[in-house]
């Protein structure tokens, strides 16, 4: 049984078709990269899986561990083990990093998870996740918080963007630590070098998955702009996400 199975998904928003018969499957403990150009709908797919407001499939099905989750609310999906590391995480005034890392898992070893993303616990645990943090610091804390949840499926939306001074090797280490906590990953990216971290990869374009194969094959396909629908620079078929 797949951990996540998206069957014939269509989604329209604001009169525009974002997905048209999209199919994708993730296996347990798999790191699956999803690559696509700006505007191809990568983030929109994550929001559909998570169940964000205004993101409900027009048709098709999303199955998690064999059961449809289309009728479930966001927090109900989270309680099944699905969560998201946002591309631009929200700031929350008055909420400490320690408390944030313990949301949903009050026994989480906050310090250990901060260390995994390269932040010194003694400097960050008591700080608030407000605007006093830089974008990169906030992003690392978001990754740590998702790790702390020990999810079954983590959707990581451009986890490397905005994080300075992290090499691909260091990012790979963080990504692989999700496997250590038993998670599967949908790793959303537009960088082919990120794709190579994954176990398997898919390319999104024109509202469809145009290729699912090994990371090397998908990276090469993406790099060569052999997209079946558009030239790969800027997808002409979708706008949000």
């Amino acid at each position: 049984m797949h951990l996540l199975e998206i069957k014939n998904l269509s989604f329209q928003i604001g009169g525009k078709t974002i997905f048209d018969g999209l199919n994708l499957a993730l296996e347990p403990r798999e790191i699956h990269a999803l690559i696509g150009t700006n505007g191809s709908g990568k983030s929109s797919l994550a929001y559909l899986i998570l169940g964000c407001e205004e993101y409900a499939p027009t048709s098709g099905e999303i199955l998690f561990e064999g059961n449809s989750i289309s009728a479930l609310k966001l927090h109900e999906r989270a309680r099944l083990g699905i969560t998201l590391s946002w591309q631009e995480p929200a700031r929350l005034e008055g909420l400490s990093v320690m408390d944030y890392l313990r949301l949903g898992n009050r026994y989480a070893d906050s310090a250990a998870f901060l260390c995994k993303v390269g932040l010194a616990p003694e400097r960050y645990l008591q700080r608030n996740i407000d605007k006093t943090l830089s974008g990169g610091q906030r992003k690392r804390i978001e990754l740590a918080s998702v790790l702390a949840l020990r999810p079954k499926l983590a959707l990581l939306d451009e986890p490397d963007s905005g994080i300075d001074l992290l090499s691909i090797g260091e990012i790979a280490e963080v990504i692989h630590s999700f496997k250590d906590v038993g998670a599967s990953l949908l790793l959303i990216t537009h960088r082919e070098e990120m794709v190579r971290i994954a176990d398997r990869a898919s390319q999104l374009c024109g509202g469809k998955i145009v290729l699912t194969a090994t990371p090397a094959e998908v990276a090469e396909h993406y790099k060569s702009r052999r997209c079946t629908v558009c030239d790969g620079k800027e997808c002409h078929h979708a706008s949000p996400g």
Binding site: C52, H75, T83, A90, L92, E93, G94, L95, L103, G104
Partner: protein, 311 residues
């Protein structure tokens, strides 16, 4: 039950150890309604209080160079459902002294209660005062709280106030604070208020930066639900070289509540700078979804955002 015991019980409910009222190392003034219940002086803190025809008058003086380790506790309120309390408070921190005042204001049964506070606070050069005022209100909203304060912070002085009214019904609240900040002095005014039902909240805080390199921050956080209303006016005036001021107001509005923020900044010296920011609105959907992605229900997510704002 003796009044002091009743006040002790209220303090416990407010989360304060009532032992502060029996501790001989801690200065205090306790007043319920128009009755002066108890007071204690300690070395470095002189207290004079008296009942006048129209209310109570209290003078607190922290003597020169004194560093008061334990906060001075002011317990003021009305224990009955009907009543009036009027207090004239004079606080003076003499040169290079340092103290913290914690004011506990309680109106647990108020249905028709008025509390008037008229404070004059003088912080002499090099002195530091922290003034934290926490309110404990009952569920009826039948209280009018009308505090006025005139504060002068002399050169190199420091004044930090924290006003908190986040549990129970506010009723009617009308804050009017004016602070003059002299050279190299600092003033910080913080207020956190949660309005419910038909609570009516009006806050006017004015800071005049009259000395060179004077600095200030007015920071207001208000959460409103039901049909509560709030009008927050934050005024900062920069009148001297190197003066820096900032006004920061954030209000979250739910249901049919109404919020208004009026930041006013004035600068009369070309080398002074005053900035402001104000944000009013419903809770950001992305904040809620971020929390719900951690398994919180929508209700828990709202509570977390509001609690953080008022923390």
């Amino acid at each position: 039950m003796p009044l002091l015991d009743e006040v002790s019980q209220v303090l416990q409910r407010m989360g304060t150890d009532s032992a502060v009222l029996t501790d001989r190392r801690v200065a205090h003034v306790v007043a319920t309604g128009l009755d002066l219940v108890s007071q204690r002086e300690i070395p470095g803190v002189a207290i004079r209080s008296e009942r006048k025809a129209d209310g109570l008058a209290a003078q607190i003086t922290v003597t020169r160079d004194a560093r008061i380790e334990n906060p001075i506790h002011l317990c003021m309120g009305v224990l009955h459902d009907t009543g009036r309390q009027s207090i004239q408070l004079q606080v003076r921190l003499e040169q290079d002294s340092k103290a913290k005042i914690v004011a506990h204001c309680f109106f647990p049964r108020a249905q028709n209660v008025e509390h008037i506070m008229d404070a004059a606070i003088e912080i002499e050069s090099g002195a530091e005062l922290g003034y934290a005022e926490g309110h404990y209100h009952g569920p009826f909203g039948g209280v009018s709280v009308l505090p006025t304060a005139r504060v002068r912070v002399h050169p190199h002085g420091r004044y930090v106030s924290d006003f908190s009214l986040t549990s129970g019904r506010v009723g009617k609240l009308q804050i009017d604070y004016a602070v003059e900040v002299n050279a190299d002095a600092i003033a910080e005014l913080n207020a956190k208020i949660f309005g419910r039902g038909d609570d009516d909240i009006r806050i006017r805080e004015e800071v005049v930066l009259s000395g060179a390199k004077a600095r200030s921050l007015i920071r207001t956080r208000v959460a409103l639900e039901g049909r509560a209303r709030a009008e927050v006016t934050g005024i900062t005036e920069g009148n001297a070289e190197g003066a820096r001021g900032h006004v920061d107001c954030m209000e979250i509005v739910r249901d049919h509540a109404f919020a208004q923020a009026i930041p006013i900044v004035r600068v009369t010296h070309p080398l002074a700078k005053v900035t402001h920011e104000a944000a009013i609105g419903s809770i950001d959907q992305k904040q809620l979804e971020t929390l719900m992605a951690h398994g919180l229900t929508p209700e828990q997510a709202v509570e977390t955002v509001v609690a953080g704002l008022l923390r």
